[in-house]
Amino acid sequence: MATETTGTASACVGPDGSAIGMPQLCADWMPNQIFWLLIALIAIYFVLSRIALPRIATVLAERQGTITNDLAAAEDLKQKAVEAEEAYNKALADARAEAHEIIAKNKAEMQAELDKAIAKADAEIAAKAAESEKAIAEIRASAVQSVEAVAKDTAGSIVAAVGGQADDAAVAAAVDAQIKGGMT
């Protein structure tokens, strides 16, 4: 390692400026390297332990807290959403039930009115029918009477024309018997 000093800065550098042996093993330079290394290490240590590491630790803790809070808030919101959905569904079901009720009630009312109207109409129809029947019966009775009268008259006339002395009562009885016989 030991060479003649050639006027350059160190015994480890040759006259042409290139290294003699390994620069790593040059004892002349070691105190300098060690001194600056210790300065650098102490500087980094103090900066890190006093400023950087506590700061990063708080930032990480804060972030963890924020994340936890956000997750809790999200859970809350989710719960609220579920509750709101439930309330909505319940309201919907209620409304549907009410609607059903109203519809049923209306239907029943309408049915009742309808029934009443139908009954009234039926009664009127029955009354009309009875009246008509009565009229028909009267008409029929009067028609029968007219037929009797016409028959009696005709029978009396026929008897008179044939030349017999027509007894009104006998003619009437015969006609009656004839009508009855015809009708049966």
């Binding site: 390692m1 300098n32 980094i44 590491l53 990480l60």
Partner: protein, 252 residues
């Protein structure tokens, strides 16, 4: 024999893969004293500046929804924090700032060293030895403070047969004292070897015929070095955690 190391610059090929590791003063041309502002100092302070920029300025908004820089800072924080918690245990969280300091320093030194024409402090054994032996001494002292003499139970493997225990104890003792050596030289060796390989490939670019191949090789090695830069920081940190676990819970 050291004088011959710079004597192989014959022909067109000039390889000086180690020149990038030379420490030189940035102001003036004098000798490198202990307090001289050298390129080592510059790049170490740049690493400090980058750590401050990422971890302090990047998080200055304290945003709950992080910006890009802030999420990188939080990612690094969470990465190392989880490593400490998983490997060392929950009771070691109070040592987290030290371990995080080591991780950020090594990671940023490694990454800054990948900038062309930059200087790589972590390729110097003096630097990594301070880191490695610092961890070693701190962990050993912590082990004795926390556990007293029972810390020596780390070397007395009680699960092995009695006859084997003294031999195992010697092996454990050797492996324990070798830890800081491998711990520091792993980092320095990886970074140094990677950068030296880059320089050797760059030297080949002087020959026109192989220049494209050399550039391709540099690109590939550079990508590998980006990976190595992170992995070495990770390995250094996780081994620190493992050693710390041994100190806190020596009974395996």
């Amino acid at each position: 024999m050291a004088t011959e190391a710079n004597g192989h610059s014959e022909g067109g090929l000039v390889f000086h893969p180690m020149d990038q590791f030379i420490v030189k003063p940035l102001f003036g041309d004098g000798a490198v004293g202990m307090f001289t502002f050298t390129n080592v100092a510059l790049w170490l302070l740049l690493a400090v500046a980058c750590v401050i920029a990422l971890m302090v300025l990047g998080t200055s908004k304290r945003a709950t929804v992080p910006t890009r820089v802030q999420s990188i800072a939080e990612l690094a924080y969470g990465f190392v924090y989880k490593m400490v918690e998983d490997v060392t245990g929950k009771d070691a969280v109070k040592y987290f700032p030290y371990i995080f300091t080591l991780f950020m320093f090594i990671a940023f030194s490694n990454f800054l060293a990948l900038i062309p024409t930059s200087f790589s402090p972590t390729s110097h054994i003096a630097v990594t030895a301070i880191l490695g032996f610092g961890v070693f001494i701190a962990v050993t002292a912590l082990g004795f403070i926390k556990n007293g003499a029972s810390f020596l139970g780390l070397f007395w493997v009680s699960s092995a047969p009695l006859a084997l225990r003294p031999i195992l104890a010697v092996i454990e003792l050797i492996s324990y004292f070798v830890r800081p050596v491998s711990h520091s030289i792993r980092l320095a060796g990886n970074i140094m070897a990677g950068h030296a390989v880059l320089k050797v490939f760059a030297g080949f670019a002087a020959i026109t015929a192989v220049a494209p191949l050399s550039i391709l090789g540099i690109t590939a090695i550079y990508a590998l070095e980006v990976l190595v830069a992170f992995i070495q920081a990770y390995v250094f940190t996780i081994l620190t955690c493992v050693y710390l676990k041994d100190a806190l819970h020596p009974s395996h």
